[in-house]
Subunit: 405 residues, 2 copies
């Protein structure tokens, strides 16, 4: 029997308990031993819930119990999660976590402790919820040098953008609706400003490229500026606007960024809608691959956490190698990154096309009957620096969205 | 240093050599040791190719060399692959193979030998080419009870159906074109009749459900009867026709089948086009997940084979558990499986709709201006047995395709 402790009986924590109870036979078979939840740490009590008899309020009970071999951290946030996880690893207990903030900020240090102790620090659920992506990166794509990871890594923003596209609504209205339905937090900043996706792409890039990517170095732009009119243009172009988190090798350098991007049907991420997430990976011999599934939600996230528990149980005193070294990956300044740019500008095409062509070269133009006082164009590929230098010289630019097609 | 032997220097074999040469540094790092190709077994010589110095024509050289720890079988077909692989495993050498015929027919026996010898028999490349699916099923989706796997598992047929859809061409014309381009074999039977997809779904189902699925028990229908007119109807319905290989839990039973199916945009497999493959998996706690990538091709397939070599190198004397037991999974007779049915029938809607409604209940009808002497309808959900009983009583049915939406 392997005894585990679950830190936090919130959404994910109660999901972990539910998954282990629901599938106990098959989970125990795959783990090779019975997985027993001995403690659940929470400040609250849950009278009437069968979990109540396992509830403890004091972490010392868990850390001092030599029977506990695996600690599941699903509290979220940096503290006290970081202290609890570090102490667990230092005392020889493996840790499985869904906490992307913790992994993005302290993953490197925590992985090193686990390696030194010959135990494991696993975090499949921290990126892409239930989608298996961390373990495939570690143990399946080992023949490849990965040169790109691009993901739709945040379900809330993908839901909002999908709804805006389907209903033609404005960002604020859809956000409010999403909050009422529980698809968005009351404080939605981490999602809508791209911070959540930024942490996740930092984790995935560190694993894929084998060097440490600091999430604070990643250029990050959210979706709060996207309007119903932007979406109307996108639809006319048979494209969709997605919040993409990308890291990519270009020549000898790497860049990483999170921003709204217009993509068309030739991109496998194009048809990833609603709360679904997907991660596109390009390997130098594999070519294109994509992993798709539920990026959030109680049971999908718990499914990934429990899969880590099974893996930790199968490797109790044997560290599973992860390709995340302490050597830092220096990211290129994004001013040198090339893209095409979708630009909305005041005035009519007749009035301004000459000026636009003079600055940006041959552009593709789009006009909407509903928006008679403006038009839009898509530039040829150019660097961000080039684009901004040209754009600064032009009056009346309403909005710019990167285009990848 | 870990010495390996590659059996067969055809497309995949030369790909394996190329991948190991191209990414040697990162592969050796992930394997924890240098992977050295000591022998390549082929009947032919390759004068001028650097591989020539490693070519041997006699398998005895390989089997009798105690330095060889991993054998890569990429010859295809049952014999002599089966004999070679069995002898390798019996003499304590791990085997990595891309050979779906071998795995579908003898996988159970070969896995048992590997387990008894504490070595590994790995076959990631046998299903879905470069797509990581076997390892995720084994080691990522361990918290779930999987209740459905549905895949587009054959690149040739998916290419043909995609081309028929884009160009409006007939099956024979696209097949001929695909053969000229090298996307289809000169003898295309295994692909177009669905036999290849059938073997792959048998392998995936055995792993996902943990019980042995005999590929010979799977109902299998190919794409040779699909016509340009069928595709025209599909497009009018905003659906596409895909060759789907499915295995699914229904109540306490399981069924498995390979057949063309009409699906719409709500299905994540809808936008998997051309030579790409994808595997949709539904878990009881994970929900929907999908794995997408290159289902065939020299380098993607070799990428999966070499990932197995890395895994075998990391687990030289430690068997990686696979959830494929000798207990047989008895499949339901497909007559009890429910679907909707798309049916083309001679005569006009005005002439025949009453009869159709009398037999099938309320149906959705579709008429094409190009096809004035027929129309089509989609039945409500009913069992295959029900459908066939009703269809037998009707004259002039041109074609039936299962519909899943």
């Amino acid at each position: 029997m392997i005894n585990i402790a679950v830190l936090g009986y919130g959404t994910v924590g109660s999901g972990v308990v539910e998954v282990i109870n629901t599938n106990h036979d098959s989970i125990n078979k795959k783990a090779g031993e019975e997985i027993n939840i001995k403690y659940v740490l929470d400040l609250r009590n849950f009278p009437g819930d069968p979990i109540q008899e396992k509830i403890v309020h004091d972490y010392e009970v868990i850390i001092n119990d030599p029977d506990i071999q695996i600690v599941v951290e699903v509290m979220g946030g940096i503290e006290p999660a970081y202290t609890f996880v570090k102490r667990a690893l230092e005392s020889g207990k493996s840790v499985c976590t869904s906490n992307k903030e913790l992994v993005a900020k302290h993953g490197l240090e925590l992985l090193k402790i686990a390696r030194d102790k010959d135990i494991n620090f696993l975090f499949e659920a921290s990126c892409g919820g239930g989608i298996p992506i961390i373990r495939p990166l570690n143990s399946s794509l080992t023949a490849d040098e990965i040169d790109e990871i691009t993901g739709i890594l945040n379900g809330t923003t993908n839901y909002i953008l999908s709804e805006m596209s389907t209903k033609g609504s404005e960002f604020e209205d859809v956000l409010k609706d999403a909050q009422e339905k529980g698809y968005a937090e009351q404080n939605p900043e981490a999602d809508v400003e791209g911070y959540d996706a930024c942490r996740k792409i930092a984790i995935l890039s560190s694993l894929a490229f084998g060097r440490h990517v600091n999430y604070e170095d990643i250029y990050t732009e959210g979706i709060t500026e996207i309007t119903a009119a932007d979406i109307k243009y996108a639809r006319k172009l048979e494209t969709s606007i997605k919040l993409l988190a990308t890291s990519k090798k270009v020549g000898d350098g790497f860049y990483a960024m999170v921003s709204p991007v217009m993509i068309n049907a030739s991109n496998p991420l194009f048809s990833v809608n609603g709360v679904f997430n997907a991660i596109f990976v390009h390997g130098n011999v594999l070519g294109d691959a994509m992993f798709y599934g539920s990026g959030a939600g109680k049971l999908p996230t718990a499914s990934a956490v429990v899969a880590d528990v099974v893996d930790a149980a199968k490797h109790l005193h044997r560290n599973i190698m992860m390709n995340w070294s302490s050597k830092k990956l220096n990211l290129m300044d994004i001013s040198q990154v090339e893209a095409r740019f979708f630009v909305r500008i005041k005035g009519t095409k007749v009035q301004r096309i000459e000026e636009v062509n003079r600055r940006f070269g041959q552009v593709q133009t789009i006009e909407l009957p509903d928006e008679p006082d403006e038009f839009a164009f898509i530039t040829p590929a150019m660097t961000e620096a080039d684009y901004h230098a040209k754009a600064e010289q032009m009056d009346g630019i309403i909005t710019m969205i990167r285009a990848r097609f």
